[in-house]
Symmetry: D2
Subunit: 462 residues, 4 copies
């Protein structure tokens, strides 16, 4: 890459999972409106055709009205070409197919275990991790070989365990994991401020939060908007909506049936523990003792959120494939639509074009003193030229410490056991998961069935 | 007290709970055979008559054949007299009566929650803590006022929370908690060595162990007998008895029906996690996820241990009352019988008469680096003249870290909330207990019922 | 204060030391060009006339061309009025007069101890601290009483010990210390980049540095400009000028005789220890073993820096007093001239008008893991709405650790001893200062003479 | 080795430096009176003849009246044979000859730097370390290869750096360093108790101390004898003898001219800093700022201790060689004389024959929380069967923290630099030593001369 005036040109970005019909399109959109950076995005995907399709779609973006920078897209049929001397690497993959995910999410229902997402923690998250960790080991090895100085942005779940794997294999890697769940909570705080205080036109970024925890089970210990401490406002708001739930601005889209949440889990956790849980209710629920919010379908309904069936994801994929097909033949146009993700701003900050403070997932250097050093945690961090340093976040508050520490340690155990191909060790972590409250022998059966269902991706363990 | 030659005379010991018909008698026995110390034991009990009875019994001990030292016993009807300028304080009380304990242990069964002991963690342990903490606050205040330099030995459960309370109220207190559960595990290791290696006449004290964890959920990370590493021996032993359980030397006493254990929980934890859980199975089970060993009565039976009903404790109390009555009127004789407890040896070491390294419960100064500083933990410690320093025990091994950290943090939360009389805060800890896997609203009902049942001892919270 | 659109109005700032003819004028200038904030600055000074003069000068600033905001100035004859409900407090005082400083700086020369500044560490810094600490105790008490929620910005030296005093007296204080020495080093790095790489028009702020250490003995462990790692560039630059020194752009002003530095100390430290010392050479020299750079006047000359005589400060004060007089009678005009200090930007960030990452002096929460928690350290920190959180800076590199840790601990000891009015304790720290290499009895004489000379300000110790 | 009843037989001990005419004889004496252990001591020395001589001497010991156990001695001409399957390794070597030591100790006098011992810290200690570290690297490698499970006892100076080297090369090594300096201080405390309190016949071991620091600069923060806190007694004692010094029981031996000390340094440090420095004054002085106690010969004399000239060591060696010669030809008899060292008791404890708590030098695991993890520190530790665990010692008290931390970090830097053969890195540590207060260029000359003088042992660095 090279610096020309206030612009940076010839940036090379490797996009692992570049055949994606979701995240990749969002990224194309975001990067097209960043006017001071340009270069080439190498799209690598195990589905090369998908990458080729995205190459074509991507190369059309710069002609769309509103595009401010010019990016080339190039599908690679080998990861080495994509990574070679890359300045940035984006990792956003689906480990396996939705068939595996279906087993992850729904098989446990047979044992009375319900999961609202099933990609992070719990039975689904752990078995997904077993598939993902070996893939990330390979990616980390390749990055070490082909672009050790690249900045690596991961969007793949299970986030914590993916990032931990990268650092375990290549400790000098410059990697971090990004997740928008905290943004969603900032938006909720914005709604609370607007409703309770009459403020108008608040920007999400102006809600300043101190974030800590592990991905999808992050908590806010301080939230400020200008001179307003948001905690008392949010308390009033949570009290108001604790029973009914908060519906927001009527997002009546049919999609929402399976993603909806009325924030009741978030309100309950806040009203009981005094800190703002900062992820979607579907995620939060999975980190809590199983009987709290996920005992059965009725409980889920009462708490006002939804279990997302993988069948929906499969249907949705069909829609996105169709959309891709149409874009390729020109029947549909690519839409420039900012995603609200911060990936592009992070890239600009790492290039030295701005400073940025936002939340990311990286190893704990002491930003959370009462979680183990080296465990992957989520806090704010400071992005500047070629530098990412965590902002000190403080201790996990005592009240929520047992819940967070437990899952943090569990995820550490899963990664460590998976890296040494120790299935029993993984099971020992599995069986202590808060959402797996069944006898050991049943847990063993469940675990074995889940492995059996996804065995194609787990050969290295046997 | 004063040093005369190699003896120490005129030692003053205050025994809080001195009316006890169990521990107190054991202590009388142990101290009677320590030939180099003598003095007076002040017996304080809220049941003054019981203390008076023990005064009489105690004063007879020195005449028994085998008694090597002469101790005076004196019942006090006020704690101040007992504590005034005491050199040592022993705390061994029953918080409330067995009626309260009955509620602690058995009420949760209505909600499908079974407890084998119910005095340490879980529903029973937490509600017992609510009664005990205010008592220990008062004791700590009195010690601060009447004998701030005394060494304080606690035997009362819930051990961790009792000791934490003492230090919370009077941080300079010289207190520690003693528990014999590790000794029992050392004896099991001795059996394993004798059976698998053919060693003979091993003394428990010669099984050198590195102990860490929290009371009743302590673990051994290293065990050595002379030049034999006990871990591989124990592995073989555990494998041999994993199914059948280990019955030991046929302790066919009828009592054992309710205290029996065949070590299967211990073997299971070892075979799965690789470290030796070092407490009785009845205690260990309560710290594990509820469905593992305590799902229902059948599960308990399959794992070869027993739920101890409080009705048994009540009957047993009657037997001990009868025994007391008989000793008072001379129908029965006090028996000198060493208990195997180390309290007297600890006293001798603190007097400078020997060095002693053994396991105790004290705040964490760093002896377990990956548990929070200040949390009460159990490790070895070094007793020397007027000095008790923890021996560095190392990190809790990663595999068992989530289980131990969780309960350690939970107990910290109970004590902190109880000290600030925050019943909701206590409930927030209650509901995360591993053996309380029920929906929040049911947990709330259970909690409220338990409080209601024991409300006489809980007035300060309302 | 109140938020009006994107502006903040009615801000109340208390300026302690508001009679100053240097820093206060600079602050007036900086704040006059910040267009989105306005309010009142209360000027408090023990010299009320000086404050009155500055009130008049300050109130004229808004009429000057270039002024973008309107600030009222008001002299207070009592600190309570100034602090009452202040939003911000600025502390910039001279502890005592230049007569005391003369003793601090020059008396030690009698004992062969030379000081280039004498206000931070060493004999002068410590005795200055003895005067300053009681003043800061009082200020902290008053802030606690009159404006506990105010943000407090300290510019007074000895920086570390002043900030430590504030937090010792009022642990919840929202205080930080600001110093421009790192900025000077950034400018030197800018010169190096321009000279060695041919870059042009680099802005100081675009030199991104990771800063750590204690004030005036801060070090840079990473320095980046866009995609350029500055370390190798600076190495070449330091090698080039190690003998001759670097003169810069010919700042031939007569003033410089006493403030000049040719960066040779900085180059030497870098070339030997591998990290960039980030303060003026006059400051750095005082933290190093005395014989390195301050053995005698000749040594100082050879290292290309200057001892600043207090006589010069006295003369300079006369010039500034004259300038003040002229401005008051209209003979001279106030000049708007940005100082390069970041105080106003910090205020704007704390108001939520921007994010800012820059270096400050605050207690160590873990931003430097290998310095003691609670010691005041200098690192980057993140300023956002009503929030200041340190950025994790990492361990002090092993090579320079003994030098920094030593002085950090020494300053902790001075403050602790001074707070308990323990002159012997202060002496024990004094005698371990790296620039005080004389026998204990001589050190005692020196110390006593220095106290005697400044006794008017030290009555509380005797 | 094998356990037979309560004895352990066939123990193999490798003695590196086994040709010694001092320590080796003491060890032979100590081990001869331990009745429950026996086996073979392999004597390895680069001077094989010396080892052969000691073989003969050693084999005669068991016939001496008073010998209670039977040990074989065997000289080895290769270290591999000595180490092969050893149970214990003792390292007690002279790195180089007294000619090198003469340079270490006396050359710095040319630069005005005096050293009382010159084997631990300061100019002499550092250059001695340069010779020693490569030797210890080799020893560690060999231990790793030939007896990785052996317990390794080091007596060689510079103690801290030797032990650090062993652990750096072979992190799993079971090594510790022993030093009797603390025992000497215990004896002084015994004298103080006897003189001030009238106690009689105190045993050194009954003075219970909490020790912390680095070897030869260890400090006692708590000292107890039975129920007597020794601190106030020692304060009175130190006050009494602060001027005159304490001569003890008239050890008028001519030897003492060069080893004498009247404890004035120890008293001064105690009276100023409040903690008991626990090493001989000759050692303590070298860790303090050079001008305190070692400014010049007159200063040393005033402080009542002595500089030990290497010429004396050379003469003494001649005497010992002569003694050896006489013993070999039967003109002189080996004398059984217990040394007061604890090596043999440590061995017995590690064999499981007793428990022992005493001070040793091992890496910091957290026993001193405010020194870096991994740095070699001296505290109490608990010796039990095949186990050595540090006893928690607490933080270095704030008052003495800068002095101890500084030298701890300096020694870390020397070892790290020496291990990477970085002579400039060693110099950077050298020049910050508290007893090297000279300009950098002079320090460089001194350093270079010292290296030149001992270059035969330093080839690996060039």
């Amino acid at each position: 890459m090279k610096y020309v005036g206030s612009n940076v040109e010839d940036i090379k970005i490797a996009y692992i999972g570049g055949g994606s019909r979701g995240w990749a399109w969002g990224f194309m959109s975001d990067i097209a409106v960043a006017e001071d950076i340009s270069g080439t995005v190498y799209l690598y995907d195990i589905d090369y055709d998908a990458a080729k399709a995205n190459e074509k779609i991507g190369n059309s973006v710069k002609y769309i009205s509103g595009a401010k920078s010019s990016w080339q897209y190039k599908a690679s049929d080998n990861i080495e070409e994509a990574l070679q001397a890359a300045d940035f690497v984006i990792i956003s993959i689906l480990p396996g197919t939705f068939d595996e995910m279906e087993s992850d999410v729904h098989l446990p229902e047979k044992y009375g275990i319900y999961q609202s997402v099933g990609d992070t923690a719990g039975a689904g998250g752990i078995v997904r991790a077993l598939r993902t960790i070996p893939m990330f080991e390979e990616i980390a090895e390749k990055i070490k070989k082909y672009c050790p100085d690249a900045w690596v942005i991961n969007y793949t779940n299970p986030m914590t365990m993916c990032v931990k794997t990268l650092y375990s294999v290549f400790p000098e890697i410059k990697a971090f994991g990004c997740c928008h769940e905290v943004f969603g909570t900032q938006k909720l705080l914005k709604s609370a401020l607007e409703e309770m205080c009459g403020f108008k036109n608040i920007k999400r970024e102006d809600i300043k939060v101190n974030v800590l925890g592990v991905n999808h089970f992050t908590w806010i210990t301080k939230a400020q908007y200008k001179d307003t401490d948001i905690f008392p406002v949010y308390r009033e708001f949570a009290d108001k909506y604790r029973e009914s739930g908060y519906k927001g601005e009527g997002d009546e889209n049919w999609l929402n049936r399976f993603f909806s949440s009325t924030q009741k889990v978030k309100f309950d956790l806040f009203l009981r523990y005094g800190y703002i849980a900062a992820a979607g209710d579907r995620h939060l629920a999975e980190f809590c003792p199983g009987d709290w919010y996920l005992k059965d379908k009725k409980t889920v309904e009462e708490w006002g959120f939804a279990l997302t069936p993988v069948s929906w994801r499969k249907e949705d994929l069909q829609r996105r494939l169709e959309k891709s097909r149409k874009m390729l033949i020109g029947e549909e146009k690519f839409e420039l639509k900012e995603t609200g993700e911060e990936g592009v701003e992070q890239i600009r900050a790492l290039l030295g074009l701005r400073d940025l403070v936002t939340n990311v997932n990286i190893p704990n250097y002491g930003q959370i003193p009462n979680l183990p050093t080296g465990a992957v945690v989520e806090t704010n961090a400071c992005f500047r030229a070629n530098s990412l340093m965590p902002v000190f976040a403080g201790n996990i508050p005592q009240e929520i410490y047992p819940m967070i520490n437990r899952v943090c340690a569990e995820q550490e155990n899963v990664v460590k056991a998976a890296l040494r191909r120790d299935i029993d060790g993984v099971f020992n972590a599995f069986v202590t998961d808060p959402n797996i409250n069944i006898p050991i022998d049943e847990a063993r059966s469940l675990f074995n069935e889940m492995l059996e269902n996804t065995r194609e991706y787990l050969k290295m363990y046997f």
